[in-house]
C-alpha cells in the first residue's frame, strides 16, 4: 500500500519535470541541429544528399495519397455546402468557405496528418532501429555529428516537403471543389476562378505555408526525439506510437496558437 502511494506520488511529482524535459528536448534538437548545419563545413555534400532523399521520401512519395485526400475533401466540402448555399442563393460563398476550410485550415492540417502517418512514424521507427542496432553510436565513433548528419536533414526535409505538399493539397482541394461545383451546378471554370481569386488572397496561402512549415519542423523533431528514446527492439513500436500520438496532439496545439495569432 505504502509503495503504491509512494510510486503514485513520485509519478505525480515527476510529471512536470518530464514535460519540461520533453519540451526542452524538442527545442534543443531544433536549435542545435540548425546550428550544427550552419557551423559545420565538412560533409556538406553528404548531408545535403540525405536532405534531398528526405524531401523525396516525405514529399514526392506522399503525392498520391495527398492528391486523393485533397481532391475528396474539396469535393466533400462542396457537396455538404451546395444544397444549403443554393437554398440561400449564396453559391458564390463557396469560395469563401473553401478558403476558410481548405486553404487556411484543412490544407496544412491534413497534409500534416499524412506526413505524421507516413513519414513521422517512419522517422521514429528508423531512428529507434538505429539506436537499438548501435548505428548511432557507430556514427559517433566515426566522428560524425549526429545532430548534423541525422537530425537536421530530417527536420529540414519534413519542413520543406510539408510546405510544398500543403500548396499541392490546396490546389487539389480546390480542384475537387470545382469538379463537384461543375457537376452539380454547372459552375464554369471561369466563374470558379473568379470566386477563388476574389476570396483567396496571397496572405492566406502564405499563412497556410507558414503553418505547414512549423508543423513540418515539429512533426519531424517529435519523431526524432522519440526515436532516440529506444534502447531495445521491444521499444521500437512503443516509441513509434508515442511519436504519432504526440505529433497529432502538438499539431492541434500549434494550429490553435497560429490560427489565433493570425486572426489577431
Amino acid at each position: 500500500m505504502k509503495k503504491t502511494l509512494l510510486s503514485h506520488l513520485i509519478r505525480y511529482i515527476s510529471k512536470p519535470y518530464r514535460l519540461w524535459k520533453y519540451i526542452g528536448g524538442i527545442f534543443a534538437l531544433i536549435v542545435f541541429s540548425s546550428l550544427a548545419y550552419l557551423t559545420i563545413i565538412r560533409g556538406k555534400k553528404i548531408v545535403n544528399k540525405i536532405l534531398t532523399d528526405q524531401i523525396f521520401f516525405t514529399g514526392n512519395l506522399a503525392i498520391k495519397i495527398i492528391s486523393s485526400v485533397a481532391f475528396l475533401i474539396g469535393a466533400i466540402t462542396v457537396i455538404q455546402l451546395f444544397e444549403r448555399l443554393s437554398q440561400l442563393g449564396a453559391l458564390d460563398l463557396i469560395a469563401v468557405i473553401l478558403d476558410s476550410v481548405i486553404v487556411r485550415e484543412l490544407g496544412p492540417l491534413l497534409a500534416g496528418f499524412v506526413v505524421i502517418a507516413r513519414s513521422g512514424s517512419a522517422i521514429a521507427a528508423e531512428i529507434a532501429t538505429m539506436m537499438v542496432n548501435e548505428e548511432i553510436s557507430a556514427l559517433e565513433m566515426l566522428g560524425i555529428d549526429t545532430l548534423y548528419f541525422i537530425v537536421f536533414p530530417r527536420i529540414a526535409g519534413a519542413c520543406i516537403s510539408l510546405m510544398v505538399l500543403t500548396i499541392y493539397f490546396i490546389a487539389m482541394g480546390l480542384l475537387g471543389g470545382f469538379f463537384i461545383g461543375n457537376l452539380y451546378a454547372g459552375i464554369t471554370f471561369a466563374d470558379f476562378q473568379t470566386y477563388i481569386t476574389r476570396e483567396i488572397t496571397f496572405v492566406d496561402v502564405v499563412g497556410a505555408v507558414l503553418k505547414s512549415a512549423v508543423f513540418g519542423v515539429f512533426i519531424s523533431t517529435i519523431s526524432i526525439y522519440y526515436g532516440f528514446q529506444a534502447f531495445s527492439s521491444t521499444q521500437i513500436p512503443q516509441v513509434t506510437t508515442k511519436s504519432v500520438v504526440s505529433s497529432i496532439f502538438v499539431l492541434f496545439i500549434i494550429d490553435i496558437i497560429m490560427t489565433l495569432s493570425f486572426s489577431l
Binding site: 560533409g43 553528404i46 538505429m130 542496432n133 548501435e134 566515426l142
Partner: protein, 243 residues
Amino acid sequence: MHEIELKNISLTLNGHHVLSNISETIESGSLYYLMGTAGSGKSSFLKVINGLFMEIEGEVIVNGENIYNYGQKKMLEYHKENSFVFQNSALISNMTILENLSLYYNYHTKLTKNEIIEKINPYMKLFEIEQGKLYDRPYYLSTGQRMLFGIIRALLEDCKTIFWDEPISNLDQIERNKVKKIIKEKKSQGKTIILVSNDWEFGLSVADHVGVLHNGRLIHSEAPEKIRKSKDHVIKSLISQEG
C-alpha cells in the same frame, strides 16, 4: 597516444546496475584484454571509455582530462582518434556497404570514390570478399560478412586506439585467424588495443594486461600469466566455460 584512466565508474541503465565502482588504468600502446561472462558489462565498459553513455558516475581521464566534461566538438575529435568494432557490426542499414566504408572519408576528407576503393581493396583481398558485395545493403549479408565489414570500417580509420567488442565470435576459423593476425599487427604498430573476446586463449596470449568483470565489478586486474595461474573460481569457470 593516450593513457586511459577510469576512476570509480558506475553505470545504471533503466534502474539496473551495469557497472559498479570500476577503477582501472589502460596504458597507451598496450593491449588490454577484458574477460567476463555474458552480461557482466564488457561492452558497456568499452562504451563508457568512448563517452557513448550520457550519464555515468565517476571519471574517464584521457590525457589528464575527464572526457565527460568534453563539449560536443571535442568529443567528436576524441571519437575520431578511436575506432570501434561493434559486436553486431553496427553498419548503417540504409546505406550500401561501400557507402558505409566510405562514410568516414566522405565526411572528413575530400578523397574521391576511386581513392577510397583503393584503400578498401587490400582488406577485400585479405578476407577474400567479392567486389560486388560492396554494393549490397547490410541486411543482404550474413552475420559473419557484416562483422568483417564492421572490422574493415574500423581499420580504415587507422586510429591510435582500437576497441574490439567480440570481433571473432561470428567468424569462421579462417577469418578468425586473419582477424587475430590483424590484432597482433596493430599491437606491434604500437596502437592501444582494448579487446573483448570469448577466445580467452588468444586474449591471454596477446594481452599486456587483463581485466576480469563479474556482475559489473572489476574483480581482477592482472598480468595474463597471473590470470592463467589464478585459482579464483570465477576465472576458472570462465576459462573452462569458454575453452
